[in-house]
Amino acid sequence: MIQFDKVELRYPGSPAILSDVNFAVEESSFQFITGASGAGKSSLLKLMYLGLKPSRGRLSLFGQNAATIGREGIPALRRRIGIVFQDFRLIPHLSALDNVALPLRIAGARESAIREYVPELLEWVGLSGHFDALPHTLSGGQQQRVAIARAVIGRPQLLLADEPTGNVDDGVAVRLLYLFEELHKMGTTVLIATHNRALVERFDHPCLNVDGGRVTRVRGPGSRRSAPRPVGSAAGAAASSQQRRGG
């Protein structure tokens, strides 16, 4: 699904942020990306959603060379990707419900489907009483859950999450990770960038480490078994909604 081949990223006149990056993300895989703050995890994710383009090397996304994807091709590619931003990037004047509904509206979903599935997902992430709340009235953790709900509502093929548990307590963090696992089981490829080593240790998934601009694999698949618990039906509902829309 994603292939980095000798990829380098640098801004003009600056040292390389990432250099000689070589790894592949297989379809339907689940991977963590760890590293200290400022190591380049966010830049790595930005390359994957075409927020940045490689300065050198070849990056392949969904079988397409990133260098040849034109402006017109980017929206369609991004609709296959759900992104959880470190700073949430919610739209300030839209309610929690409308923020989560955005990807569906952009994809042209029916309002009836939006009214059915968005509240269900918001309830699942623990925001049942905050449908109409504006982002600035929500706590950091609540905003993060809105951002996660927005990223997964369209059941993307690829989920990129940048520190998705940075503002929630451990219990909620684990619960959110189970949501990502649920999506993964339904075929979504998941990449989570986090500096929370304890969380990474708790789940048995491959792990990449970013350090000094280089990416290394620190744990391969199946190194330890995790014991995921059932986590409700919201992600399933999102998936069903996508399937009913023909997505």
Binding site: G51, I74, R79, F85
Partner: protein, 298 residues
């Protein structure tokens, strides 16, 4: 996109653009009316005067001394192809018209020429010079006037007014486009962050542009309808302020405000001025947003 993903209604442009477009629309309607009036007057006068010929026969030395020749001249006039009617202007009426300048007594004593108005269904195609020379055989000094020279001056004037109206309309459209472009570019700059989020979620430029378009169209229609209404009210006020006779003789305002003499096509054109301004603003908004978005990273 009807829910307002981008909060455009809070922009500074949302406060001034409807007013600006309303004023533009006001001038657009007045300019359209001016152009339509000029066009109609030109056509009307062209028909009314272009299809009337005046024949002037010198006064008789003594009353009735040339009656047989005059009857023959009238027969010649009635036999002209395409003539609808022949109206002999009463000599006393001619004297009345001259009285304000010459005085009633002198005007009554003057030997006034006999005047005939020849009304044709359309501008006559007969050779009027030849007709004049034939009349001259009966009455030396007889004159045939077709008003065409005077008409050409009037036609030039009305066409100039019509062109001026259309020029003002074009300038109004141009100013509207500039105002919309400026407002839209400012809005794009203000909402750069929200636009960036929409892009990251997978929104196409067209999706984002459609929100700006809907916003501008709403403002343009709101301003346009108010401006259009005020323009019609202004015309109604002008019509009411004019004396009825003056209005009737000038045949200007009632042509439009009376509605009936003006064609439905002209009325539709006038009523469409606010729609035209709104449509132009809508197109300008789309092109302007798409241009601004192309300069942003998707």
């Amino acid at each position: 996109m009807t829910r307002g993903d981008i909060p455009l209604s809070h922009d500074p442009s949302a406060r001034y653009l409807p007013w600006l477009l309303g004023i533009m629309c006001y001038f657009a309607v007045l300019a359209s009316v001016g152009a339509v009036i000029s066009h109609q007057l030109a056509a009307r006068w062209d028909f009314a005067l272009g299809s009337v010929v005046t024949v002037q026969i010198p006064a008789a030395v003594t009353e009735g001394s040339d009656a047989p020749r005059l009857s023959q001249a009238e027969r010649m006039m009635r036999q002209l192809p395409g003539i609808l009617r022949l109206v002999r202007v009463d000599t006393s009426r001619s004297a009345e018209l001259l009285a304000p300048w010459l005085g009633a007594e002198l005007a009554a004593d003057l030997p006034l020429p006999r005047l005939f108005d020849l009304h044709f269904a359309a501008p006559p195609e007969v050779d009027l010079e030849q007709f004049e020379s034939r009349l001259g055989e009966l009455f030396p000094g007889a004159m045939v006037e077709a008003h065409t020279q005077w008409m050409s001056h009037v036609a030039k004037l009305t066409r100039a007014v019509e062109a001026l109206g259309l020029t003002v309309l074009a300038l109004v459209m141009g100013a509207s486009v500039v105002a919309v472009i400026f407002a839209v570019r400012t809005s794009v700059s203000i909402h750069r962050e929200v636009i960036s989020i929409l892009h990251l979620i997978g929104a196409r430029d067209g999706y984002i542009a459609s929100e700006f378009q809907a916003h501008v169209l709403k403002m343009a229609l709101r301003g346009g309808l108010v401006g259009g209404f005020l323009a019609v009210a202004t015309l109604a006020g002008v019509a009411a302020a004019l004396e009825p006779e003056a209005v009737d003789s000038a045949n200007l305002i009632p042509t439009l405000l009376g509605g009936l003499p003006a064609g439905i096509v002209e009325w539709v054109l006038i009523a469409s001025a606010p729609m035209l301004v709104a449509f132009v603003a809508w197109i300008a908004a789309r092109l302007s947003v798409l241009g601004a978005l192309r300069k942003m990273n998707p």
